[in-house]
């Protein structure tokens, strides 16, 4: 996998993960182009498209689009399930994850992703093992500060 992007229906980027070295300028250009392309597609269309010399695999969960760029020989369907498994991991961790969780806890979204995918390849597919790693980390923290913010208007992600 070359990169993964999470963006909202309004086109706001929520998470970006790049597994190939690119300049910031190039990253912004790619993001702009892809967000536009994917948002323009209708709901029933297929989840794959050719883009430059890459294959784009995307799926929408509630208000969020998950979009991965893979190489020519990579497997589209398994990538679709990479996305799903990531959503499941987020869901399990946050408890009915919604876009706001990812906005306010973006760093956690990155940590979970790093446990699941590394260098663009699947590292650990067992949900249990991934969450174990994250929770262990949580236990290591010195104090917990509660966060008070509204979760109203937040839809269940899937």
């Amino acid at each position: 996998m070359q990169f993964m992007l999470l963006f909202s229906r309004q086109g706001k980027l929520r998470l970006q993960k790049w597994y190939v070295p690119l300049s910031d300028k190039e990253k912004k250009k790619i993001t702009r182009e892809l967000v536009q392309t994917v948002l323009a597609r209708k709901p029933k269309m297929c989840s794959f498209l050719e883009w430059r010399d890459l294959k784009i695999v995307y799926k929408r969960y509630a208000s969020l689009y998950f979009c991965c760029a893979i190489e020519d020989q990579d497997n589209e369907l398994i990538t679709l399930e990479i996305i799903h498994r990531y959503v499941e991991l987020l869901d399990k961790y946050f408890g009915s994850v919604c876009e706001l969780d990812i906005i306010f806890n973006f760093e956690k979204a990155y940590f979970i992703l790093d446990e699941f995918l590394l260098g663009g390849e699947v590292q650990e597919t067992s949900k249990k093992n991934v969450l174990k790693a994250i929770e262990q980390a949580d236990l290591l923290q010195e104090k917990t500060e509660n966060m008070f913010y509204s979760k109203s208007g937040c839809k269940k992600a899937y």
């Binding site: 989840s47 794959f48 369907l77 679709l80 650990e124």
Partner: protein, 937 residues
Amino acid sequence: MPAVSKGDGMRGLAVFISDIRNCKSKEAEIKRINKELANIRSKFKGDRALDGYSKKKYVCKLLFIFLLGHDIDFGHMEAVNLLSSNRYTEKQIGYLFISVLVNSNSELIRLINNAIKNDLASRNPTFMGLALHCIANVGSREMAEAFAGEIPKILVAGDTMDSVKQSAALCLLRLYRTSPDLVPMGDWTSRVVHLLNDQHLGVVTAATSLITTLAQKNPEEFKTSVSLAVSRLSRIVTSASTDLQDYTYYFVPAPWLSVKLLRLLQCYPPPDPAVRGRLTECLEAILNKAQEPPKSKKVQHSNAKNAVLFEAISLVIHHDSEPNLLVRACNQLGQFLQHRETNLRYLALESMCTLASSEFSHEAVKTHIETVINALKTERDVSVRQRAVDLLYAMCDRSNAQQIVAEMLSYLETADYSIREEIVLKVAILAEKYAVDYTWYVDTILNLIRVAGDYVSEEVWYRVTQIVINRDDAQGYAAKTVFEALQAPACHENLVKVGGYILGEFGNLIAGDPRSSPLTQFHLLHSKFHLCSVPTRALLLSTYIKFVNLFPEVKGTIQDVLRSDSQLKNADVELQQRAVEYLRLSTVASTDILATVLEEMPPFPERESSILAKLKKKKGPSTVTDLEEAKRERSADVNGGPEPAPASTSTVSTPSPSADLLGLGAAHPVPAGPPPSSGGLLVDVFSDSPSAVAPLAPGSEDNFARFVCKNNGVLFENQLLQIGLKSEFRQNLGRMFIFYGNKTSTQFLNFTPTLICSDDLQANLSLQTKPVDPTVDGGAQVQQAVNIECVSDFTEAPVLNIQFRYGGTFQNVSVKLPITLNKFFQPTEMASQDFFQRWKQLSNPQQEVQSIFKAKHPMDTEVTKAKIIGFGSALLEEVDPNPANFVGAGIIHTRTAQIGCLLRLEPNLQAQMYRLTLRTSRETVSQRLCELLSEQF
């Protein structure tokens, strides 16, 4: 687990994020951000040392601001400080910041690397994990330099925790991708291969990715992974759906790992029989499962199951050796073509494209043509329609070309703008490739311009004019058709270009019909003139001057047009210059000179279709080439001979110089026997020694050898006569132009060149030529064309004997004509593993010929490469494990067979020797190619 209890809540961060979200405008957001940046900056610069928590919070805010799309130019140092914190969450945020905002500041890199080094040495698996994640995320060269030696040790150490092993494997993979030169292969590689046997499936999953990538570059080193991967796969495939516990995903056992294992196996040719049986069982089991009722209605279940199925099909296609599996795969994909899931239809179309290029399944794919055409018409998603177009293109052959081209043309009328140009190119290529009849070809291209003129690139209309010029049987029809097409009140400018060009060359062919008299042709073209852009007008001006030559009767009219102010004083320099020059030319030049200057265009010499080149560029080199190469090889293997000749073979008296250009394998029926030699009787009368053919001229052998790797040049020269050659070959056909130059100022009389072939040679090589004028004026040059067809492989070379009278003396010269077997080579690109697979297949002793010889020329790598390419085979880079060696591959085309050839040249600089090995499926071919090539170095 409610979100509020999660993580180390940073209140200030949450407040800041809320603030940003509440901003009503972009300006307000920027204002808020600038305020925050100023605040953070002052905290970082402040006298009071920040505690770890604050530092973490501010670094995290900076990260958030960066991810919003703003530039961040400070805070790196604070982030680096966090790396050495003992508190996990602080360290974690520090690493995240570094991973996202890499900075090439060398001072910083040194500090980061130091922190990583400490964490790697800490023996704390959580810290090690963070450090490895950071290396994998950044993946820079500096990091590779610092850690590429260390990570393999962590990976294979006995006491490393599983989770750390997983990270280490993928971390190493990332470093290998960015800096392969910095990851040395060593003892660790064999131990990594054995990770495929690890008990922990997560470790196996991560290791498989690493091994796959390494094996692509170092197949030998990792070949033991094949049997391990097969047995691992077999265990997964045969496991019950619950056996693998958490590695079962929606009732599918370890789908990610299965896909990765199948990918790994695609780095290698089919394994040895023992392993192969087991693998075939796995693949069959996977295909069987596809037919079973689903264990769950969830889309995740079917996606995971089908992901494995598609990867298995890819492997079957890659091996391309089990007809049974290939046909089953094709049937399975056929079912998917009508599936209600758009995703599956898309993938089935995509996968079938590659199946279409396998000899075993090409026919099976073709049976789905109606479904695919239907998809083209009814799919609502353009990306699916695009796949359908690709598949139609891939399944096209002589039997269905007319139908497919017609469907594509009709689809083009409504096709999405984004894919029109590509469809145009595809139609143009198919029309050319499978043209049995050039009227159909011309019609198709003109239709193409009519339907999608704006998308017809230059290459397409250049190509149609090239082909018409090269095929004299298409010229009259083309002229008539463009003339008719131009009658339309509004026609596309590209049509005007084609029309202008073709009428300028061949308008005379239809001028006999009063409806298309010269003047009518001219008026028709000129009526479009003012609507056209400058380049088209320039082209039309050239057409007009060609008309002046073709039709003297319209000269006056055309001169009037050229003379008009709008031409002579045109603001565009190019148009003005053409008008002035053409007008002057038409006024001062004699008919003879006009006829010479404005002579019909000579045939275009060309090897590859420019359109195909363009499509390749568009689609990226891999997709098109592979398919074409694969198709070519298939026909080599299966048909054992070239495709049947199209019905349009031109008459023998005026052989078209382009037969070989089209890549149609068009064979001209050439009468056997020696070419007719005119003036033979005269020679008999005048010659001093009538029947004698001179012995070969001195130096003829050397000259002959020089032509083995090139096609043009001077073959012979003495004080009287120079013989030059220009030739081109395509598949089993060739055409050679022989130029005879009279170097003296006196006429040569009874000039008679004759081609002499032994009986043996005559059976295998068919040559056909027309006699030349028996008189060659002093200083003049005459040319003679020879049509060549390779019937079967041959060893000898024909002899060219030239007899003529110069002054009072009879001259008799013989030279060997360099028509050699290698001229019928078509290069074949292939990957290292394919090469060695084929190499092994050709291991019979009589298939291999080897020669060891002393270098006759300086041993220069570049020169050697050029010679191998000139020899006709493809030069395969990065195939031989020893980079000093050269390997090549190609196919010798003859009428009766196509012979795959592999060659390997090993130079030994010290001894100034070479060893050349040829392997082909035919002993005589190996022998001859080895002889020819070993003379070259």
